[in-house]
Amino acid sequence: MISRLGTIMVLGLAAAAGCAAASSDDASAEDEVRPAERVIIGRAKPYSPDRTLDAKSELLASSQKARREVAWKALAKILADTRVAEGEAKVDDKRVKLPAFRTWYQKDDFERMFARAYEGHGAAARKARKPLAAAKIDEAFDWNATDRGSWSEEQYFERVKQADTRTEAQGLGGNSRVSYSTGMVRHVMKNWASLSRCARGEVADVPDQEPAKASNFSTCLDDEFPKDAAVVKASWLRADFGLGVPVRPTTPEALKERLSGAKDDGGWGKGTGQDGVVDATPSADAIYTVKMSDGSSFRMPALHLVTKELREWLWISIWWSPEPDTDFGADRPEAIAKLGGPWKNYKMCVVTAYEENDPDPTGGFPTGPGSLGDALAAVHGGVGAPSWCSNQHIERGAKNAQTNCIGCHQHAGTDLRSETVLADPVRFPEAGRTKVRKNFPADYLFAASAPPESLAQTIQTQVAHYDSVDR
């Protein structure tokens, strides 16, 4: 007998996000790409950075059009399909392909690889806090991509055969919130000792202290992340139990209400059941959807892509819309449409700096009903005012519809929580969008220390374990 009780109490409710990653999030950090799925997928497809972007940072800050072109190009790279390693993984007799970012490493990959490399590091090197040798890191990557763990060959191929529909095949990439490019994971592993110091609270946070080195403004890393470091933060919504996707309009009028604080205290509201929010139930053709091996299904309504191609990172966010060609989807280039699948149904915003320096509020885009120009103008506060990019599915809580990614992420690696930043307009003006620090402890990477990713804590767990037994 089954009885639906409806929603009684949410466990592990993620608080204000986006400004999200530094917030409490009790979603379990359990593994999602298990050894078997990683073997099917193979090594992650590295992110190929545009190494010329840093030189264009002023242009990008002063031209919304240039900025959006760069963002769509970056998206095209990570959304493009790539074949999985396992030749027997097929749908309709064709080798399974996943969007490139779906091959990236997830926390469980990191846990396995770091544990492997750190154990192999040896007691003497661990105690001396020596860096991991590049070869040791390579070996961990190879092992992770080829070792199917406890599973027998029969169980492995059973899993391969199980993924014989499109959504099941997409499920091979798991449903992790955060995925990391190869360059990012390597850098985190290389910096294990300094990150573990931060995890232990041994590095004081002095926001107005000048960086020790001009080339490194972080305090929890020996060096800033490399250009090929990129991270994706995805939002997944359960597609079973009749659950849908809440859709909030991003028309100029709607955005102005949120930016002024007139609606939902400047946030995106609670979603389903709120004023002006409708639930959509898009098909798997219309929205990126995965079916997991236990039969549960999830839709991906939103995604952040953040890359280190700029020193202060390139901040891109996309969200699904039932009216995809209006406002923030109006300039979607052919390169995205050509990718096929659901990607033509996502809208996009982008930030490259704390401040908006484009003198044209419309960014030079057409204006009129449903236009991108009017939407951009609605979030344009004037030259020198804070920039804007906020995702309705990821940023949670009051004022979080007013944010710009970079503002909150500057506090990554500190104990500051997003709720604190957003609630304190004196210390953190303009909904936290203003640059208030001179150093950036975790190089803007919330996942380094904030739950549920807490990569530094993952490192520290191993460090503490071996410290207690390495005697």
Binding site: E32, F298, R471
Partner: protein
């Protein structure tokens, strides 16, 4: 014969209970016949077969002939104790404790029987009598405090979310009990309870156990390289707990080297003392998947978590205990992600809260904690296995018999209508967390004290026989996801004919483990049993679900109770020892199943 029940119209002067009693102080209920009285009493108690049954006691207990007779017997024992002219007031009160010989142990509802459902009523004659005993034993001030402790520990329902009986309701029930439960058998007919037990291991159970060897939570945590506590080599459980203190002694002593524990090991190659408690514990203990933490009721905050890592880090010089504002029933998640615990509601905290060295106590206001409604006591928690970061958790409840950790195996009284409840903690996605979004039920006649395996695919229940426990039933829970949620089936796939308490599964789901309070049947002769006759003892038993072998893990001396065993992910087995001889409570680890083929 006309039966009348007139409840005096007295105001409830003292609100002794935590929750309000919706009392109709001037109720006058009258009954023409015994059947009317019995029907009304059964409605009040919540006997599901009686039309108009209230949702009262049946939220946790099955109301059937046997359970009512057990409570009746306990109630009569309580009254006899209160009215015993040969006992001092203090002795009478101590008789209400879990261990009447140990005045450090808490009071127990089992010592009160039906009276436990009425002691929140201040003007009940028995309440007044008990109050007077406390005053005479401890004085006015301390007596009131002690009385509060009894009510807090022994009143029923214990959960503040559940309504207690009003004065008139209790009076109806009491009248019926005092008359000897007339018409009980007529109103609650039932089939013949199991009277025998035959060990059975089905092919489906064998197949499940074999599959879990590589696909269960033990394999999953191993693949994920979860560091197991006190193991010097990843994924090698044979190299654990062998660290030395500065003086060269073991940080975690082998039991053979400790005088009072010398005889404890009955199987396995290693048994280690992990931790000596600074205070007593109450109800069950559980450990985290990695074995770093244990949790139980007890301590100043109501419950606690012990972090063994502090002992290892300081080579035995320091201990770390984190107070938790809860009461009992901790359940750690099989993926090493967090702790669920009961007390003023159900609370969940992620495990990083406890790994954080700065955490000294937990109030559940911490950002790592959240609350769940509608989870009954004695829950067990499992997580579905999949390539799914957001896979659902199942919480299983069934009727239960409280196990105080002293005395004898709780007599199961589960009825024919027994059902296993499965609550689904549904993942809403990355931003939505979890919600209890579905509740299913599966029939399990005569079964209760149900515990679920880490993968959610097996449950083990105690079988209530005619006059004793008839072993354990193992059911395979098949859950399939459809458009509107899960459908559940529960097939019996095994029966194991040993006595004991609630049984817990190993992470590879090959074994169940339980404790058993020793009886004459556990000894070869009267002479061997003689020292145990007046001194309760309990041992740990592991049952191999593939072979049916029953492995006695411990051999405790009289007055020593090995209790509440629980596996960690790599197969090490933890349990607690209450040693009444030395007045110690200790956590102990055994490698009994490691290395078994």
């Amino acid at each position: 014969m006309r039966l009348s029940l007139l409840v005096a119209s007295l105001p409830l002067a003292v609100a002794v209970a935590a929750c309000s009693v919706s009392d109709d102080a001037s109720t006058d209920e009258s009954f023409q016949t015994e059947e009317e009285l019995a029907t009304r009493a059964l409605q009040v108690l919540g006997a599901q077969r009686i039309e108009g049954a209230q949702q009262q006691c049946n939220k946790c207990h099955d109301i059937n002939r046997k359970s009512l007779r057990v409570w009746e017997s306990q109630y009569k024992g309580a009254l006899a104790n209160l009215n015993d002219p040969n006992k001092t007031p203090r002795k009478k009160l101590d008789a209400f404790r879990i261990d009447p010989g140990n005045n450090r142990t808490p009071y127990s509802p089992q010592r009160l029987g039906f009276l436990a459902a009425g002691i929140h009523l201040a003007d009940l004659p028995e309440s007044k009598q008990i109050g007077d005993l406390f005053k005479r034993s401890y004085g006015a001030t301390r007596g009131a405090e002690e009385y509060r402790k009894l009510r807090d520990a022994a009143r029923m329902p214990i959960s503040p979310e559940h309504d207690r009986l009003s004065r008139s309701e209790f009076s109806v029930v009491k009248t019926w009990i005092d008359k000897g439960l007339p018409k009980l058998d007529e109103l609650l007919p039932e089939s013949v309870r199991p009277t025998s037990c035959e060990t059975r291991i089905s092919p489906a159970l064998e197949a499940h156990v074999r599959a879990m060897k590589t696909k269960g939570w033990a394999a999953r945590n191993k693949d994920q390289q979860v560091p197991m506590f006190a193991c010097s080599t990843t994924n090698d459980p044979t190299k654990c707990f062998d660290q030395k203190a500065d003086d060269g002694k073991d940080v975690f002593a082998e039991v053979e080297t400790v005088a009072y524990a010398r005889t404890w090991k009955a199987a396995g190659s290693k048994m280690r003392l992990l931790h000596e408690m600074a205070h007593s514990t109450s109800f069950w203990s559980r450990n985290s998947a990695d074995g770093r933490f244990v949790s139980s009721g007890g301590g100043e905050d109501g419950a606690f978590v012990v972090d063994f890592a502090k002992q290892l880090e300081t080579r035995g010089k320091e201990h770390r205990e984190i107070g938790v504002s809860a009461s009992y029933d901790p359940s750690f998640m099989p993926d090493n992600s967090g702790l669920l615990i009961q007390g003023s509601g159900t609370h969940f905290c992620t495990q990083d809260l406890f790994t954080n060295a700065a955490t000294t106590s937990v109030s559940f206001d911490e950002p790592q904690c959240s609350s769940l409604n509608n989870v009954a006591l004695y829950q067990s928690v499992g997580r579905r296995l999949a390539d799914n970061e957001l896979s659902d958790y199942f919480i299983v409840n069934n009727s239960f018999e409280s196990d105080d950790g002293y005395g004898s195996d709780p007599e199961p009284s589960f009825g024919e209508d027994q059902k296993i409840q499965i609550k689904v903690m549904v993942s809403l996605g990355t931003e939505g967390g979890y919600t209890i979004g579905q509740q299913g039920e599966v029939d399990a006649p005569w079964e209760g004290d149900t515990m679920m395996s880490p993968s959610t695919q097996l449950v083990a229940s105690r079988i209530s026989g005619e006059d004793k426990q008839e072993g354990y039933s193992i059911r395979l829970i098949k859950s399939s996801m459809g458009d509107s949620g899960y459908t559940f089936q529960a097939e019996n796939v095994g029966t194991f004919c040993v006595p004991g308490g609630k049984a817990n599964f190993s992470f590879d789901e090959r074994y169940i483990v339980t404790h058993h309070y020793l009886t004459r049947e556990d000894f070869a002769s009267d002479a061997e049993y003689a020292p145990y006759k007046g001194s309760s003892a309990a041992d740990i038993y592991v049952i191999d679900l593939l072979t049916g072998e029953n492995i006695r893990v411990t051999r405790m001396a009289p007055g020593q109770l090995a209790l509440f065993p629980h596996f960690r992910s790599d197969g090490w087995l933890y349990f607690i020892v209450r040693d009444r001889n030395t007045d110690k409570e200790l956590y102990v680890a055994s490698d009994v199943v490691l290395g078994r083929e």
